[in-house]
Amino acid sequence: MRDSGLRDIAIVSFAQRQEAAIRDESEVEFMVPLMAQAKADVGLTQQDMGFTCSGSSDFLAGQAFSFVATIDGTGPVPPISESHVEQDGAWALYEAWVKLQCGDIDTAFVYSYGRSSPGSLRDVLATQMDPYYVAPLWPDAFAIEGIAARILLESGKVSERQLAEIASRSRENAASNPNAVRRTPKSVDEILAEAYLADPLRPSDIPASADGGCAMVLAAGDRARELCDRPVWIRGIDHRIDAHTLGVRDLTTAMSARIAAEKAGVGNDKIDFAELHAPFTTSEAVLIEALGLGDDVVINPSGGALAAHTMMAAGHIRFGEAFERIARGDGDRAVVHATAGPVLQQNMVAVLEGD
């Protein structure tokens, strides 16, 4: 961020749904109730929104221009001011936040969704790699993370037991989250007894894939205070990307996450909890260090993306989880993070705070 004279923008409502597999409904069908709920919670209709932005992927939907069908769920008649990113919904939120910073609108609607269950996501994600030198080898996503995990372990920064502790805590936290998919508790020793799936990663180190999505309303300044009792303010937000070529970056850290955290002001005040889009236990270990989160910060009270990984919405849902927690008084200040690409290549970091 460049200018300190930015407007105060808050999250004022949020609705989500995540399940292991949504088989009998299309993306539009399962998004319509979420869109309606997020708007109804603050008494707004689509026509009250100054801007609308969404995030999704054609590769998951298996159809070009798939988002064109989903826009119907918003009720875009009369026409709406609207845009879409082929990125996690966290970046749709960012685009809406920028639009609100322009000063001529006071409300924005943001939604995102993804359904991975019809295909094999670990293979689909191979098409995200360098199309000339890497993708033709069809490296599966878990194997790439496994290689990175091996480098991380050998660096001595983290042990397999510590990874198992992260997995165990995710399961424990997810037990009380109805939107989580992997909710059965497992001890550290039980996890360490699991067979490797992508050596050195075990099944519990790997995200529980989910289908679903979320919808959210943002509002600026006084408008946010009118719309809800406890708006959750976006105090800072920034995103950065690292090099794609795995061989040219240090996979035991996340330079782009570190820069984004600094720009978002993570170190400026005490943080109560963090919702990190860490699909793998290794991602979480790397992020805690890159974001400079101390031992007193509660990590992923929702269970995080390990417990439910809805591709294209998992980062956006971290914002929603933090919003709900702060709105009900379970903490005042949170760090939120979203990621994209192999081994934490692209990262967004935000600081959220209640009044």
Partner: protein, 391 residues
């Protein structure tokens, strides 16, 4: 809508870069294609990668190249390691929407200088296949976009009593314009009007020569804030207004010929730019015309002509580069070059080049205010901007 009172940062276009467009740019990778456009934009702006604070990239469906979210792979090529990159995708209007999003990054004062780039490398895959993937509960438009739009054009012809060959006139004009643009894909210097008329009928009323080609290519722009625009030692295009609108593909009473989203988007952008008499005050138009008949249709929808009268502007040569009072698509337009994801941005960039006085042989003499336009989906997504030589 909002009541915020904040004022936007005035935003300038200081660099435009385009690749040579061709059906197959087999000499470059996707990364190489983007760098070709980006370097040219940086060179014109007198900037280097270090001056760029963020990149906003746009393109049409990932199936067109078979790379999922290609901004991930392009991070190094676009010089954004350690920087922010966004990826916009809003159907055929995407190139225009991407420019609007990039402009908002500067207008909001979040960033100072932004590189925006839109592209397609259609030769990597097959667009007809990508557009025809079967989806549950959806009728496949196996005939592609032409099959979808042809009944709408027929409807316009019936409503306006336009002569049958207006479409051929638009196509011939744009192909002639393309001869003055070295970047344009189609360079048909021996083409005659009769050949356009005699070309095979593809989707009645659209003949082979009345539709766009399939191109590889990229278009980039450098946008910056007011102080940098003022200080810039070179031509500048000032952004006077940007607007995006979307609506449902089908609903009761929807006007398919002049969609409400098109009219409202135009009203918004011209109001921002303080334009009252659109035909008089706009000196050059770059509009998204992938099928010939869309030129008269958009002239009406955008308020450059009265309803039912747009075709007369084509017939009397008003939209010609030479002698026209409202020259349309002097670059050759989408009818001469269609790198799908880039096409919207090309319109916006060509509008900027006109007011910068940098359009070369297809320059409209004395152009001070120009309009860039893009549409997509089932004519349901719109992005527009107005640029001017003066702040």
């Amino acid at each position: 809508m909002g009541t915020g009172s904040g004022s936007k940062e005035r935003t300038a276009v200081i660099g435009v870069g385009q690749t040579k467009y061709a059906s197959t740019r087999g000499d470059v990778s996707m990364a190489g294609l983007l760098r070709e456009a980006a370097y040219r934009a940086l060179e014109m702006a007198g900037k280097t990668w270090d001056d760029i604070d963020a990149v906003v990239m746009g393109k049409a469906p990932d199936f067109f190249e078979g790379v999922m979210m290609p901004e991930i792979y392009l991070a190094e090529a676009l010089g954004c390691v350690g920087k922010p990159i966004m990826r916009v995708h809003t159907a055929g209007s995407v190139g225009g929407s991407t420019a609007c999003v990039a402009a908002s990054m500067v207008q909001s004062r979040v960033h100072k200088t932004v590189l925006t780039i839109a592209w397609e490398k259609q030769s990597e895959s097959n667009a007809m296949w990508a557009l025809s993937l079967p989806a549950p509960f959806t009728t496949s438009v196996n005939a592609g976009a032409g099959g979808y739009f042809s009944p709408i054009m027929r409807r316009y012809m019936a409503m306006s009593d336009a002569p049958e060959l207006i479409g051929c006139m638009v196509a011939f004009k744009d192909r002639q314009h393309a001869l003055k643009n070295p970047f344009a894909h189609l360079q048909q210097k021996d083409l005659t009007f009769d050949q356009v008329v005699e070309s095979p009928m593809l989707w009645d009323p659209i003949r082979y020569s009345e539709t766009c080609p399939s191109s590889d290519g990229a278009c980039a722009m450098i946008l910056t804030d007011e102080a940098s625009g003022d200080a810039h030692d070179g031509p500048v295009a000032w952004i006077k207004g940007t607007a995006m609108r979307s609506e449902s593909n089908s609903y009761g009473g929807r006007n398919m010929v002049s969609p409400r989203a098109s009219e409202e988007c135009a009203n918004d952008v011209f109001a921002q730019a303080g334009i009252h008499d659109r035909r008089k005050e706009i000196d050059a138009v770059e509009m998204y015309v992938p099928f010939s008949w869309y030129e008269p249709m958009w002239l009406e929808s955008l308020g450059f002509a009265d309803k039912g009268q747009g075709w007369r502007m084509v017939e009397d040569g008003s939209t010609n580069h030479e002698g026209g009072d409202l020259p349309v698509n002097c670059s050759g337009g989408v009818l001469s070059t269609n790198a799908i994801g880039a096409s919207g941005m090309v319109r916006f960039a060509e509008a900027a080049l006109q007011v910068m006085g940098e359009a070369g042989e297809h320059q409209v003499d004395g152009a001070r205010t120009a309009f860039g336009h893009a549409y997509g989906g089932g004519a349901q997504y719109f992005a527009m901007w107005v640029v001017a030589a003066q702040k």
